[in-house]
């Protein structure tokens, strides 16, 4: 291990001063906004000072330079001190309980895809470390030996369930999860400088710095007391600020600047205009599961752009993300059965446009990561989620494995695009478009084989539906997707629409074709009735008088059984569509 040289005493003093200045800034900003957690900021003032002015390598003029070290404030309550520490900062993910996963994604990319030396620092509060997702992520970091990652635990005790500083409990748990764990006094800048140095020279395992701190440190009559969580200081602010000012030795301009990145080795990458390496190549009528077409398309876009990566939660053989792993093993990240971390790692991997990330698992298992996806959208992530095994059509594996709420979940993500392709050709195009679309994308794929209905050259557009069957005197418009589109095609003579995307839905086409069909729509979906395709259609025609919609969907917890039996039992088969058409013709 290289020798550690401790900073000069002048630097140490300056770092102490900066910590107090950060405290003052945090008080000022929380007073102004009448909201926030100044005492939580105070507990990490020295940690932030050392990280931002001694340890981390970055250019203040270009904080988002790809070669810079990364910092993630998982302890979201302490956001004011982050802004104080680095007012010029770019976008930082601030996400209570989710930062370790995001950091894992950044560190994994740094080590294995960028293959360069920037480091990733994640600051975690002790309260949030009760979240299981934190432990999923620590396991991931330990498993993949992410020695370019350093997780700092701010143990200020008041966020904990125990009234003591349980430093040893943290140390043992972190060691058991594969970390180099270093316990420090979180208010001692010398100890912090040394610990961060040790972290930077530790190989083959990530480091955790477990910092013993006090909430409201250096706030007289507030430090380490209960009942000051999440409150601006109010009338107490002035006295505290005066006290802090008295602790500062050098009130002049800063004498130190953060170290620069050692080398500008993280190359610029281009993730625009991603295309399928070869167009879809199917025969009309050929029987192909859309989940298989997903795997095929994923490998094709990965061939076209070396920044396309795939992540999976131990379901790669079923979702067919395995096709990317076989073609480009170094661009596949196995995240095991830990969906919160899976989604968080993808969000981290896609940060700063370093990769185009596709995350796959069974559609229903994304319900474990709804909060991660929600927070990802708030942080403007561009991750693409692909959920297989949707609906009762999966059959024997039973309701725990059936995605029946996934459209409802992804439609309720702001700014999302929800693809529900019905054949292999449209699935390949959905994958290609998702790779180039900002915001959260979701692609819903099906387990059973279904017929190819589109020509390989058929163009697709987000928000544009296809009419797959029509005649001049249609009296009902049928709308289905995936398995139910085929049931609709087999049902009756009617106009049949494939929406392609459920969000945005093709409002204009629905209104136009509904009008041509006597204002009668039957919509049928392999999903619960709430929040899915049916309600998307209802929203599209909400402001139309003279349109009626008959909506077929799953209405109860399904059983296990053969797919064809279940589709009929839960009212979405061709037979049920015929009955619905007869009903709607009377309306």
């Amino acid at each position: 291990m290289p020798t550690y040289h401790k900073p000069e005493s002048k630097t140490i003093q300056e770092l102490k001063d900066i910590a107090h200045k950060l405290r003052i800034h945090s008080i000022a900003s929380t007073q102004a906004s009448k909201s926030g957690h100044p005492t939580s900021c105070a507990s990490i003032a020295e940690i932030m000072s050392v990280l931002f002015f001694n340890t981390m390598r970055y250019k203040i003029s270009a904080p988002r330079d790809p070669s810079s070290d990364r910092f993630i404030l998982s302890k979201g309550h302490a956001a004011p001190i982050l802004y104080a520490a680095w007012a010029e900062a770019g976008l930082f993910p601030v996400s209570l309980g989710q930062g370790v996963a995001v950091g894992c994604g950044m560190a994994y990319v740094g080590k294995n895809i960028d293959k360069t030396d920037y480091r990733t620092y994640v600051l975690v509060g002790d309260g949030e470390s009760a979240e299981g997702s934190v432990w999923e992520s620590l396991h991931f970091a330990g498993h993949y030996k992410l020695d370019n990652m350093c997780v700092i635990f701010d143990v200020n005790r008041l966020g904990q369930s125990e009234p003591q500083h349980q430093m040893d409990v943290y140390r043992k748990r972190l060691e058991a999860f594969g970390f180099n764990a270093i316990v420090v006094d979180g208010h001692d800048v010398e100890e912090l400088c040394k610990a961060f140095y040790e972290a930077s020279v530790t190989k083959d395992r990530p480091t955790a710095i477990v910092a013993k701190t006090f909430k409201g440190k250096h706030f007289p009559n507030i430090e380490d007391l209960e009942n000051w969580h999440g409150k601006p200081l109010g009338d107490a602010a002035n006295a505290v600020v005066e006290h802090l000012k008295s602790l500062i030795r050098n009130n002049g301009p800063l004498q130190i600047t953060p170290p620069s990145p050692q080398k500008e080795s993280a190359k610029k990458v281009d993730i625009s205009h991603i295309k399928l390496a070869t167009p879809p190549a199917y025969q009309l009528g050929e029987s192909v599961a859309t989940r298989l077409a997903y795997g095929t398309a994923l490998a094709k876009i990965a061939m076209n752009n070396d920044r396309v990566i795939a992540l999976d939660g131990d379901t790669k053989n079923s979702t067919y993300s395995d096709k990317l792993r076989k073609a480009f093993p170094e661009r596949f990240i196995e995240c095991f059965i830990a969906e919160q971390n899976l989604c968080g790692v993808a969000i981290g991997a896609a940060c700063r446009d370093r990769t185009v990330a596709f995350v796959s698992t069974f559609a229903t298992f994304f319900s474990r990561a709804f909060d991660q996806i929600r927070m990802g959208a708030i942080s403007q992530t561009n991750v693409n989620f692909v959920g297989s095994h949707c609906g009762v059509s999966i059959g024997e594996d039973g309701p725990s494995q059936m995605g029946l709420e996934d459209i409802a979940m992804f439609r309720a993500i702001p700014g999302s695009t929800v693809f529900y392709p019905s054949d292999a050709v449209s699935t390949e195009r959905a994958v290609e478009m998702a790779a180039n679309t900002k915001g959260v994308c979701f692609i819903r794929t099906s387990r059973p084989n279904t017929a190819v209905i589109y020509d390989n050259n058929e163009p697709f557009v987000i928000g544009k539906a296809k009419i797959v069957k029509q005649s001049a005197n249609d009296t009902v418009l049928l709308i289905g997707a995936g398995i139910t589109l085929y049931e609709a095609l087999n049902a009756v003579h009617a106009r049949v629409m494939d929406p392609f995307t459920v969000k945005p839905i093709d409002k204009e086409a629905i209104i136009q074709h509904a009008a041509q069909c006597g204002g009668r729509i039957v919509v049928v979906e392999d999903h619960y009735k709430q929040g899915g395709l049916g309600e998307a259609v209802l929203s599209a025609v909400a402001e139309q008088r003279n349109v009626v919609v008959k909506h077929l969907g799953v209405d109860e917890v399904p059983r296990s059984g053969p797919p064809t039996v279940l589709i009929d039992m839960y009212g979405i088969s061709a037979r049920c569509i015929v009955a619905a058409v007869n009903d709607v013709l009377k309306m």
Copy 2:
């Protein structure tokens, strides 16, 4: 510690025989259903044999007797062997990755509420132990010293990310989380008997039995090999069954029966007809937040029935569940910032109708536990979820804390009831009704104070809306709830409806009043537009010609700001309602 006496050699042989019989049953059932995981069953055959025929105390004639020990198969893949082991079983939660939380709930109730000696056993697969929720729950069990709980880890290595049996990693992690960890050969019935005995006499901490096993144990040419996960044996079945039969010594009837519960100490409890101890007591026009009314009502029903309990995820001061804690501290379970475990513990606590459980946190944080709630519904849980701080009306705390997808999520839970009370009186009644309603209930509460609009004696019914303002010549029906109901009341002269429940929604009343108002509806909600109140209303009028709906809701990620500013900025204020009414009058 009492002395351990090992079973007679005859019993040991019988337990070995039973293990092989269970293997044979698992093969038979997975062959018949053409689905399932017989190799996963084989790895736990001895564990199941010892648990069900040597360790657990229960009456085969009355498996759900409250004094019986509990068993939870978290390793859901192995369900066939559970059914084989106990074909007469009642409802067992079988929930991949969620069993430890459910077990924690049962064990907590056993120790602290039933205060009796039944024990809870949870069998966990090694693959699922990657789920962070498992570690949330282990932390909970360690923290609350649940020595009446025993978690068995089936480490069969093929489910793991590592190719070795990492017994020591499991032991260290479990010890660090507060467990008495015992590593055993999972195929040695003598070792198992002894370990379960040790678990039963260990005080002040839960026990984890870490069992080294092999997938497909005793299946020739299959044992411990890859590529046999999740598949029936097919053509290989007959040879395997013949081999297993050759291993059985006693083919006659069973010589042993499971031990009986030591005492019938778990009393019968009555959780029917729960009522508010005193009726709502407000002044019309008084300003009270619905979240506060929730806390008041919770304490009142707890006064009426000693089986009402509350659980919270470190937000009790904000959700007002603290009111129950103050009145009945022993019936409040603090689950810290760990929402997956929070919901799982509640599901466990409510099992076998031992308690009426109310779980509260910020509405949006339930998105972390969507899968737990989904699986709870599949297992027919009756847990009540209460989400506070809904919508942009929370103001300064920003989008990460705003519940804007919670209605979409809870509507998509099969069989759920979704309450969205608009004042304190209706909130108290919602709490009372939820306590008596089967299935998942969700109550959405608001942060700001709002006026009491109902008389204390006003009756409420699930699925019945209230008309809060009307005249004979209304031309528009306004539908709002919570904060938007007040905006609607302040907007214009129009008929105003309070739906009270969003699911079921009062379809009949909506259709009737819409017809009386010229077929014009404006619906306004503090929620994303997808899956919320608006789409519930659209579903209600789907089959009506001649009704138009103008829908106001939040359409993007909101900012932080003062509530009144945000309500206007995101288009759901009285001003925006007036504009929407003017629009809809032209339709």
